[in-house]
């Protein structure tokens, strides 16, 4: 059981991007998308994120495991949210005139005892669109998030954080943690094999939930304590080399290109614009300044 980092070495525009630009884009887009439920704006973001992901030229066979998890998680969340809210909650949108299509008998939360009881599950144009918007938002964020581990050299993560302004110690610790991974994965594998030879079965832990957890101790304790004790040698070696006494230099230095700067500026501009629009939207009840607070449903759907 050895560990393989997901990074795929390839020459694509996304692989060539500065890791700082990728991180900033993800953060700015996530925070901007959280401020609206306008289906057209989220759809535009989804298309943009899908194009970005497409530029990374990642194959399905390489990302299958991650995508299956993300699709499963999103389906559960979107439908779970719909059923749990009885299809009636659309955040940040005025729902005084909902266009109900039909409703089904269902269970829901009540504000009096026994608190759970029969309640109709409403299907309206607004709630279905909202469900669609939620899915689009989550998948657009996933497109940007999944691209990071597959297109970013792990050796550049520590430097990227350093050049983002993180203190040297923390940036070096990030770098060091990536270096620890192969050794720890080997220790994990060796310990697991050794314990299995003694009859330990990770896949078939018996007993109740407490017993099962306690039975993980023969795996967890040797790996953690062995690593902590072993790390003393690394501490001594670093202290002997006067680590942290002077200013640290880095072998790799990231250089931003015009395209990186353009992407970072674009991400920040979109985020600031959305934030300002979101604030202004609270003072206007209609018009272009209220756009983030509307679902943007076309008129034909409402008649």
């Amino acid at each position: 059981m050895l560990i393989t980092l997901p990074y795929v070495k390839r020459d694509t525009p996304i692989h060539r991007l500065d890791p700082r630009a990728k991180l900033l884009l993800l953060l700015a887009y996530g925070l901007a998308a959280a401020q609206t439920s306008n289906v057209w704006l989220i759809l535009a973001g989804f298309v943009g994120a899908a194009c970005y992901y497409g530029l990374a030229r990642l194959k399905w066979s390489e990302t299958r495991r991650a995508w299956l998890f993300i699709i499963f998680l999103n389906v559960i969340l979107v439908f779970g949210n719909y059923f749990l809210s009885g299809g009636a909650i659309v955040q940040g949108i005025d729902l005084s005139h909902q266009h109900q299509l039909f409703s089904l008998p269902f269970l829901g939360f009540l504000n009096h005892p026994p608190y759970i009881g029969p309640k109709p599950l409403v299907f309206s144009v607004e709630s279905i669109t909202y469900m669609l918007t939620m899915g689009l938002r989550n998948f657009s964020i996933a497109f940007l998030a999944v691209a990071i581990p597959y297109t970013t050299n792990p050796g550049h993560i520590g430097v990227a954080f350093k050049q983002l302004g993180l203190p040297d110690q923390f940036a070096y610790a990030i770098d060091l943690s990536f270096r620890f991974l192969p050794t720890l994965a080997r220790d994990f594998s060796v310990t697991l094999d050794a314990q299995r030879a003694r009859g330990f079965e990770l896949d078939k832990l018996r007993g109740g939930i407490f017993g099962r957890i306690a039975r993980l101790a023969p795996l967890v304790v040797p790996i953690v304590i062995g690593s902590v004790v072993g790390a003393e040698d690394i501490v001594n070696a670093m202290e002997l080399r006067c680590f942290g006494v002077g200013r640290r230099t880095w072998l790799t230095e990231l250089q931003t290109r015009p395209v990186d700067r353009l992407l970072m500026a674009l991400a920040m501009t979109v985020f600031l614009l959305v934030t300002v629009l979101n604030i202004l939207g609270n003072f206007y009840t209609s018009g272009p300044l209220h756009i983030l607070h509307e679902q943007g449903l076309p008129a034909f759907l409402l008649h």
Partner: protein, 195 residues
Amino acid sequence: MATTEKENLREREVTSRVWGIGVRHIVYMALGAALYGIFSYFTNILQLPSAGNVSFRPAIVIPLFFGAVFGPWVGLFSGGVGNLLGDYISGYGVYWNWDVGNALIGFIAGLVVYLTWGIYRHSRSIVLAEVFAALGVIIGIGFASYTEIWLSKLTFVTATTGYFLPAGLSDLINGLILLPILLLAYRAAVARFGR
């Protein structure tokens, strides 16, 4: 006068012991993060039967243990960067609110060092570590779960039943059972190696 100086010295010693970052802290930050990442990656196969999207993560004990022994900064880093590493090597991407939530878990668990100095010889100090660990899990998972209300536009009920309860309960049970076992094992190892 002398008393004030002594008090000042003691205060400075406490501050540097709890908040100072030396070489030892840097190495244990990195080790804690790597261990959390590796354990999260390998134990992702153990899914919770009640919640399809939350895995049964005994790995949560790592930021709790590193926080309780080496202080809040080490706990914060082990939790935050460890979660990032776990998601990174699984290929899931980067989800900042869960990274911050896990960082909070380790940080709050690490505040117990103010009371125990990272030494767990008596059951009282272990109980204190458990209390801080429980607080850390509740606040950290609470932060990550309820920011989803804003970020993913979930309802409060979905955030509670879909994230907070399954993840929080799983982390609480795992953490509270495994943390004392690790603390006792660490005490024995320190006594044996004299470190």
